[in-house]
Symmetry: C2
Subunit: 244 residues, 2 copies
Amino acid sequence: MPSLRPIDTEPGQSRYAALAAAMRERIVAGEWPPGSAIPAEQMLAAEHGVALGTMRRALDLLAEQGLIERVHGRGTFVRQGLSGAPMLRFFRFGAVGNAAPRSRILARERLALPAEGARALGCGPGEMGLRLLRLRSVGEQPVLHEEIWLPLPLFEPLAEGDPAEWGDLLYPAFAQRCGVFVHRAVDSIGFGNLGAAQARALELPAGHPCARVQRQAYDLAGRCVEWRSTLGDANAFHYTVSIT
Amino acid sequence: MPSLRPIDTEPGQSRYAALAAAMRERIVAGEWPPGSAIPAEQMLAAEHGVALGTMRRALDLLAEQGLIERVHGRGTFVRQGLSGAPMLRFFRFGAVGNAAPRSRILARERLALPAEGARALGCGPGEMGLRLLRLRSVGEQPVLHEEIWLPLPLFEPLAEGDPAEWGDLLYPAFAQRCGVFVHRAVDSIGFGNLGAAQARALELPAGHPCARVQRQAYDLAGRCVEWRSTLGDANAFHYTVSIT
DNA sequence: AAGTGGTCTAGACCACTCT
DNA sequence: GAGTGGTCTAGACCACTTG
């Protein structure tokens, strides 16, 4: 039987906003793990001593923010992290259309984070990270080259064992092996030219124009947990935005 | 005194969704022109014979879709079109930071729409369009080269008169001179190389790598009213997307 | 002070899912 | 059938803007 949790509103804040903030804290604190159901609206409304409509409004807010997912007739669930966060959505690789994308880890080492990476990950300068080089292919054709930095004690489980067992998608591996759920990602797009090593990996001439997607990925609590730089043939780049 | 407009719901459709659709039609039909206020919620609820909360829900939908804008204490307004639809958000042009962007029309002519343009604008092949070449500058530096196609009887007012009087922003000119309000735009980003003419205009070497933004702009009713192709130095391109 | 949108309540009923 | 979220109502009160 849940204890009562009367809600207190800061001046100028609506009750449903305060409720949403409170629920967010409980979720981030792990009271209901990702994928599990939270109590029914009726239950929560009674627990906080508010009307049903007000609690619904609060949950609507969290749903908009992507923190929870409502399913009519079944319940309300804490969202699992992003599964693919599909980097390939930025590119169009021809003919090979139906071939399944594959990924391979080229290198893995523990290293001190470079200054920019430490800043991105919110770590102190000189802290340790795990650096991965990863090659993604469509059919037999290598198409994307990635350099990935992960903060280190957190991702220690990925520093050992055979990367070939991780599967083709990285984020599910983060979740299963390190308990890290990627919940939001910010991608920053630019154009540049391939360095010698990347060009070799992608079977393109050195200096070939490339698109560079720099990603910072965040977990439920808003911590940055991944800093990644992805390179692919600029001529295959394609992206569509709608503005209103 | 407004007549009653009882709302009828299609099976499987909620009442507020039907209301939103009805209101959308009235707005698109021009019953309340862009920028003007629509009647108060109480009024509309009574007119359609529904509870206040239901009407509010319908208006919330339209607000989400960007069709209307609600202002606490003042009223609810039909949105003006996009003002800038800022193409420059895709680029970062250095040092000249504070200089105001300027634009200049290099060429203007009536021509039959090319096949792709006709398709984009939803016109029959061979119909007439207005073709503009436009150069945008920051400070004294030309930075973007644009080719713009507009469907023709609609934009006839722009086919005459001095383009220098249009001002630096195109969409306000569309609104004032042609009564066309751009409400949504879809930008498609790709990568390529500058042709000789464009390179000359941008003061870059021919074949220089460039980012190409292809835009289709739509009015309130969802008609495509503009087809545009913008080119700029690939090295200045920069864009950030957040996914959840 | 009057008019607007924003919040909150309390309760009824509907639609969906699972067992 | 029991439990969940989704819709709708009717009404009270609050917060903001304008004359």
